[in-house]
């Protein structure tokens, strides 16, 4: 029975199949919202109000011509998208979605918060390598920008994620979630951290105002300039899944996780991640792209000090509660 459940966990829910379907749904939700914010219609014709459009896009990309630049290192160039997709799917397994383990197990152990944060920062390196190995000028510039941005947002994100963990006195995602399910009022103490986490997640996903590495009007496709066909489809899927996992991580840490077993847990997961996707879309629609120097100075001047302030608040609160 346990083996069956583990297999289901890995491949169906919340593993591969669910992730693929739900991430395309999230992309559709994001696109539709973005269009609505702009008084447009958004995807419309594939499926009920265009719900299948992201899947259709990916299928279409799979059948497109796949070009590898002559001077690029072919093996690395082709391996990177698959590798990146595997990394984000692995990160998804650590989200405490379905079965909570009282004891440590393969997907829940003390310190898995750090593991997820680490796995989520690996795609950035994948993007960098992808850009660097494309040997294209625009891709190289994009790759350099990816790394520059990484130094901007990674620290505030990690600090913001730590503050609820400090309050809950645990580095295990499921324990943090359970702690806040018992004391929901304490969630309010982390509001500042929540805002920082959402903004930095936007930067991690490289969406407006932080879409600097693949700013279309400046450096064409950025790191993805040379990618086409299947590989580009993988990268798109990677971004979608990264969005779901990032939203799931923030929902676990800042919104009390997903209690209620299989069905209620699923409902919790969907609602909470969609709230975060909504916030991400709103930021995307309300801002213009920053310049790379502005982005780095913004995150070190405002986000990082605010994240430290959040940790101070939490430490003081913790002393007060004791």
């Amino acid at each position: 029975m346990d083996i069956l459940k583990t297999l289901l966990y890995l491949f169906v829910y919340p593993g591969l199949l669910f992730l693929l379907i739900y991430s395309t749904f999230c992309e559709w939700f994001d696109r539709k919202l973005y269009a609505r914010f702009q008084n447009r219609m958004g995807p419309l014709h594939t499926g009920q109000s265009g719900i299948l459009q992201p899947i259709a896009d990916i299928i279409k990309l799979l059948f497109k011509e796949d070009i590898v630049p002559e001077k690029a290192d072919k093996s690395i160039f082709s391996a990177l998208p698959v590798f990146g997709l595997a990394i984000v799917c692995t990160a998804a397994l650590y989200l405490p979605v379905w079965h909570y383990c009282k004891e440590a197990s393969f997907n829940s152990f003390p310190g898995d918060l750090i593991v997820v944060a680490f796995l989520l920062s690996l795609p950035t390196l994948i993007f960098f390598l992808a850009g660097w190995h494309s040997t294209n000028f625009f891709a190289t510039i994009g790759a350099v920008r990816v790394l520059t941005m990484l130094f901007g947002y990674e620290v505030p994100l990690l600090l913001a994620l730590l503050s609820p963990a400090i309050l809950a006195d645990s580095w295990r995602l499921s324990e943090i979630a359970v702690f806040y399910q018992i004391n929901p009022c304490l969630l309010l103490a982390n509001i500042l951290g929540f805002c920082i986490a959402v903004i930095t997640l936007q930067a991690k996903l490289e969406r407006v105002p932080f879409d600097i590495p693949h700013a279309e009007t400046e450096i064409v496709g950025g790191v993805f300039t040379e990618y086409s066909g299947k590989k580009l489809a993988f990268f798109r899927l990677l971004s979608d899944i990264e969005m779901v996992v990032g939203a799931g991580l923030i929902a676990t840490v800042f919104m009390g996780g997903f209690p209620g077993g299989l069905w209620w847990g699923l409902l919790n997961f969907v609602i909470k991640t969609l709230i975060i996707v909504f916030l991400l879309s709103a930021i995307r629609a309300a801002c213009s792209r920053m310049r790379i120097d502005q982005m780095v100075s913004f995150s070190w001047r405002y986000l990082a000090p605010l994240a430290v302030l959040q940790i101070f608040i939490v430490i003081l609160l913790k002393g007060f509660l004791k």
């Binding site: 008084n39 064409v220 213009s288 310049r291």
Partner: protein, 411 residues
């Protein structure tokens, strides 16, 4: 990192039309810019010599899609001077009215493009949505959204009815309200302001010495506007201000254009309320006496200049067009020096470039020694196929005509 040269264009998402900007970068900073034109040459001036005046009216309209009215008006004014006819007042008023509505549409379009270049797509969608109101007005007046073709020699082709007058006045209220909102957004949204403030500086002296025109020069604090300096049509009867800004950067160019929008609304309202009664057109002759004329016009992008030489027939002997974009290229090169890669699209878009407007001639220049030469079409073809072979392609490119024939035979 050492300096390296990168071709921005002729195909690049920031450029809506083909032009090649060869840039030398030092890291993310632009060191040197080399503008290369000639990708969109259409031979319009030569074409104009082979057509009658009335046909040329529609040809000049197609020099530019955005400011189509400015080119026909400029041409029609010149030819009217050559024909020695004076259009009636009502005709001139309608001509000016369409010109100002076109300015509104062009500036709204530019605002959206500036937003898009800065990655502010929502701003772009909203401004373009509200631009539709202007497009609808133009369509109802002239019968088409882009090529209005309202001008003819000696006046205009269509009259404005009372009902149309009222609808235009009604939609002006909405437009004013929306423009105020965009002014507010464009000057307060922190991410957008951070992108346009202090970017692409052009000092007053430099703007003058490089002969920049239109909003580009006005944003550097110089009051230069053909409508005031050398009034044509009915601009000496309409009250309006020349809008300037002192900052000389992209932000200043946004401010100038937005203020000009408000001036436009005022002028449109004035013209509609004071529309004189009478004819809209006088009869024009077909043949034009031997003479020459230079006609100036303030297009939304700057000063537009047509030189027309007639030779007594019904066809012009020479037509020379100087579009505002061409006059702004030297200034753009100066603005681009020292900017970041991220600022290139914004600075380039800030002059509101219309590349096909500016492409008047193509010259073959040897890059190594700077020698210009004339090459016949046959030689050019030979050169091209040699180059094609050098690149390792099939020896002889299949001719398009042959391919077409193949397709036709199949079907």
């Amino acid at each position: 990192m050492e300096e390296f040269t990168v071709p921005i264009g002729p195909q690049h998402p920031a450029l809506k039309e083909p032009i090649s900007l060869r840039m030398t970068f030092d890291g993310e900073v632009v060191k040197h810019v080399d503008v290369r034109l000639g990708y969109n040459h259409r031979g319009m001036e030569k074409m104009a010599e082979e057509r009658s005046y009335i046909q040329n009216l529609y040809l000049t309209e197609r020099i530019c899609g955005i400011c189509s009215h400015s080119h026909t008006t400029c041409f029609a004014q010149g030819v009217e001077k050559l024909m020695e006819i004076e259009p009636p007042k009502r005709g001139l008023y309608i001509r000016t009215l369409v010109a100002e509505i076109e300015r509104v549409h062009s500036h709204l379009l530019w605002l959206g493009v500036a937003g898009h270049e800065a990655g502010f797509d929502t701003f772009f969608m909203y401004t373009w949505r509200d631009r539709e109101i202007v497009m609808d007005i133009l369509e109802s007046i002239s019968g088409n959204r882009v090529h209005y073709a309202i001008n003819t020699f000696g006046g205009v082709r269509r009259d404005i009815s009372e009902a149309q007058k009222q609808t235009i006045l009604d939609s002006l209220g909405l437009l004013k309200q929306r423009t105020e909102y965009y002014t507010n957004i464009g000057t307060t949204e922190p991410t957008f302001v951070a992108r346009i403030k202090g970017v692409g500086k052009l000092s007053k002296e430099l703007a003058l010495s490089l002969c920049a025109v239109g909003p580009t020069v006005r944003a550097s604090g110089i009051k230069s506007d053909v409508r005031k300096d050398d009034p044509y049509a009915v601009y000496n009867e309409i009250p309006f201000e020349v809008c300037t800004a002192d900052t000389g950067d992209v932000f200043g160019r946004v401010v100038v254009r937005v203020n000009e929008l408000f001036e436009c609304y005022k002028m449109i309202e004035f013209m509609l309320k004071n529309l004189p009664v009478g004819d809209i057109v006088v009869k024009a002759p077909r043949r034009v006496k031997e003479n020459e004329v230079v006609s100036r016009y303030e297009a939304p992008r700057g000063e537009n200049l047509h030189y027309i030489k007639s030779n007594g027939t019904d066809k012009p002997e020479r037509l020379k067009v100087r579009a505002p974009t061409l006059a702004n290229y030297p200034a753009t090169v100066e603005m681009l020096k020292g900017c970041f890669i991220a600022d290139i699209p914004l600075i380039f878009a800030a002059i509101d470039p219309c590349i096909c407007c500016a492409e008047r001639m193509v010259e073959l220049v040897n890059v190594k020694n700077g020698e210009a030469s004339v090459v016949s079409f046959g030689d050019l073809k030979k050169l091209a196929s040699e180059q094609y072979k050098k690149c390792g392609n099939k020896p002889e490119p299949v001719s398009i005509a042959k391919q077409l024939e193949k397709i036709r035979r199949k079907s």
